[in-house]
């Protein structure tokens, strides 16, 4: 009896003092840890863990535990099962991570049903944020880079005709649609649009690229997922000698992804991309980030836009945790904190749009240049405060 009452009192004290006690917040983190996209999962997790390491002290006595699950493939099922387990069994406070759009789409209903805030750290299909009121995206939308690239191609690069080639799944279709809208809105004409296989394994791009070469457009806009696909696509552009045929190679930042850039080879110099982050951005936050990244993961490790998604995503998670002040995290509370949240990111200032819960950020137009044998991205234009054009214009599923 004595024992029972003591423990009862103890439990009561803990409950009362709960808010002031050190608490471990559990963050479910879903990313590809195996298969062809493992490199992207690693980058995302590196960014997230680096933020935790550098900013742990900001949380005082509270701690963050990253519970990592493998999404395995770009499709939905594994990611969904992982999210279910994280919510139901691991009782995570927040869901995060996610490299591929279909992963995020399959998780969205669970975030709603489980009343868990879900911070999307990479997946870029514009309408993802429409799928659950509990989603906040800190990465990018395909329409941000695609639309701006379309305008730039027509106005600055002087392309009159273009062909788009894309990996045949939601972000690819999004990217091609955004490019078309931007390009044709500025007077260009998209003469062909080519779906180039699925996102799982990088296909042989030759038949698609050769078709483009034979049609001789001024610009060739390509969306493929970063990593493997990007390297294979860029290599095909080089192998088919398309530059000599005066076909400009353009696309979102995946195309000359920092992680793959050096392996593609110097012939890729001259490519133009529109991107929200590349490793050669010059600002204080990025200098500090690159330095910390090198200290943590070695001088050879390359920071890229995926790692930035993880890094800033964790910054958003930290903002939510700080606002919870040691108490429970609720979806309403987290969303209240994150709507309108601003952050000084290595990619420049970012903000979460309070109405769409999507990222507002700078988009950079950059050229790939050969700097004494090392390929670099050279920013030639900065477009500040870019919102998601798809939701602004209410196109397709973005409008519903």
């Amino acid at each position: 009896m004595q024992k029972v009452s003591t423990s009862l009192i103890l439990a009561g004290t803990v409950a009362l003092a709960g808010a002031a006690e050190a608490r471990e917040y559990r963050v479910g983190f879903i990313a590809p840890k195996s298969g062809g996209a493992a490199q992207l999962g690693e980058a995302l997790e590196r960014g997230a863990r680096l933020y935790i390491k550098l900013h742990q002290k900001d949380l005082g006595e509270h701690t963050v535990k990253l519970i990592v699950r493998d999404s395995k493939r770009p499709g939905g099922p594994f990611a969904k099962a992982a999210a279910q387990e994280l919510i139901a069994r691991e009782k995570v406070d927040i869901l995060g991570g996610v490299v591929f759009s279909p992963n995020a789409m399959s998780i969205a209903p669970l975030a709603t049903a489980g009343k868990v805030p879900f911070v999307v750290m990479n997946a870029g299909t514009s309408w993802i944020t429409k799928l659950s009121p509990n989603i906040v995206r800190v990465s990018f939308t395909m329409w941000q880079a695609g639309f701006i690239m379309g305008e730039h191609a027509a106005r600055a690069l002087g392309c009159k005709t273009a062909i788009s080639g894309y990996t045949n799944y939601p972000p690819g279709k999004d990217s091609a649609a955004a490019f078309k809208r931007g390009f044709e809105g500025s007077g260009g004409k998209v003469i062909d649009s080519i779906p180039m296989g699925g996102p799982r394994n990088a296909p042989d791009f030759t038949p698609f690229f050769q078709r483009v070469k034979d049609k001789r457009p001024n610009c060739f806009f390509v969306f493929v997922p970063g990593g493997n696909h990007a390297a294979a696509a860029s290599k095909t552009y080089v192998a088919l000698n398309m530059k000599a045929a005066n076909i400009k190679f353009i696309g979102p930042g995946d195309l000359t992804h920092d992680l793959q850039l050096q392996s593609i080879g110097p012939a890729i110099a001259g490519t133009t991309i529109a991107v929200h982050y590349h490793a050669d951005l010059r600002n204080n936050a990025n200098d500090a980030y690159k330095k910390a990244f090198a200290v943590e993961y070695g001088a050879k490790a390359v920071p890229d836009f995926v790692s930035i998604g993880g890094y800033d995503g964790m910054a958003a998670v930290f903002a939510v945790i700080k606002a919870a002040k040691g108490g429970n995290i609720t979806a309403e509370g987290a969303l209240k904190t994150l709507k309108g949240w601003t952050h000084d990111s290595p990619r420049g200032k970012i903000m979460i749009d309070p109405t769409t819960r999507d990222i507002v950020q700078n988009i950079y137009i950059a050229n790939v240049v050969n700097d004494n044998g090392i390929l670099r991205h050279q920013t030639i234009k900065t477009i500040p405060g870019v919102k998601d054009k798809c939701k602004e214009l209410g196109i397709g599923r973005c409008g519903k």
Binding site: Q39, N201, P207
Partner: protein, 293 residues
């Protein structure tokens, strides 16, 4: 008219280059299946290992590409003998299901071993200068590497044909594929013959793996799985154990696959399966296969 010629050249050059690759890799699989009735699903793994050997000889060690291909051929052929003597021989006389389970297990092991040693990222090589750039055919320019693939593939095809039709060991192989028990009764050592063929087939696959790096968009650990279906299709369409049949099957499927993706990017990748379906309905034993004995 010019445009038609232009596109026809594209399809032919790229299709045939791809076909050569399919043939070089698949022919070993075809002969081992025809000769011993052995279903070696791990054949693609030998191609993959050959590709990795080539990459690792070229990039860190700086060995010339063509020499690296020869070394990969010999190394994997030797590796094939070791595998055959050490592992494969134990399952030869078992039912086909055991062949399948055993070799698919080997594929899994190879994928994880390769991922463990060299990581999951695709491997690429820088081709030698002479294989880069374009070759002007008059009608249009084609990449030098594709022309090289066609010429090298053609040379390999001719050598194999000659070897099978004109040499003693070739005659033995043909006899053994036709009727193994009869060949054995005539004193042909089919066991040893198989070892030789297995080594040759593995070496060829390795050569294909090395040649294919540039064509298949980089070399990945999933290679052994990704292309397995295609190799099996080539073998089935060509007819088991028939070198000529494998060649024609590779040619038909290589060209159709490229043309399908070129003309109809959306869904063009499925042409190859449709064609396989029709051919096998028409001739279940394959284009050049013998009807069931």
């Amino acid at each position: 008219m010019d445009q038609v010629l232009d596109i026809a050249t594209t399809i032919l050059v790229f299709g045939v280059a791809y076909a050569m690759l399919l043939f070089i890799i698949s022919v070993g699989l075809s002969i081992t299946m025809g000769l011993m009735g052995f279903v070696n699903l791990a054949h693609g793994a030998f191609a993959m290992v050959g590709g990795y050997v080539t990459v690792k000889l070229v990039t860190p060690l700086g060995i010339p590409y063509l020499l690296a291909l020869v070394i990969a051929f010999m190394a994997v052929a030797a590796f094939g003998v070791v595998m055959e003597r050490l592992l494969y021989r134990w399952v030869f006389d078992r039912p086909e299901l055991d062949h399948v389970l055993f070799t698919i297990g080997l594929v899994f092991i190879s994928v994880f071993a390769v991922t463990g040693i060299w990581g999951p990222d695709p491997q690429n090589i820088q081709l030698p200068k002479i294989l880069q750039g374009d070759l002007n055919l008059g009608v249009k320019s084609i990449p030098v590497y594709r022309a090289f693939m066609i010429i090298a593939g053609g040379a390999i095809v001719l050598t194999l044909f000659y070897g099978l039709e004109r040499t003693r060991i070739g005659a033995q192989v043909r006899a053994a594929v036709d009727n193994r028990r009869m060949a054995e009764s005539c004193g042909i050592p089919t066991g040893r013959l198989f070892t030789v063929i297995f080594a040759l087939g593995s070496g060829m696959a390795a050569l294909g793996g090395g040649l294919g790096i540039q064509i298949l968009g980089g070399l990945k650990p999933v290679f052994a799985f990704e292309y397995l279906v295609i190799f099996l299709i080539v073998v089935a369409v060509g007819g088991l154990g028939n070198v000529r049949g494998t060649f024609y099957a590779a040619l038909v499927l290589g060209i159709i696959d490229f043309a399908g993706k070129y003309f109809l990017p959306e869904g063009g990748g499925f042409f190859i399966y449709g064609v396989t379906f029709i051919i096998l309905l028409w001739r279940p034993q394959g284009l050049f296969g013998k009807a069931q004995r």
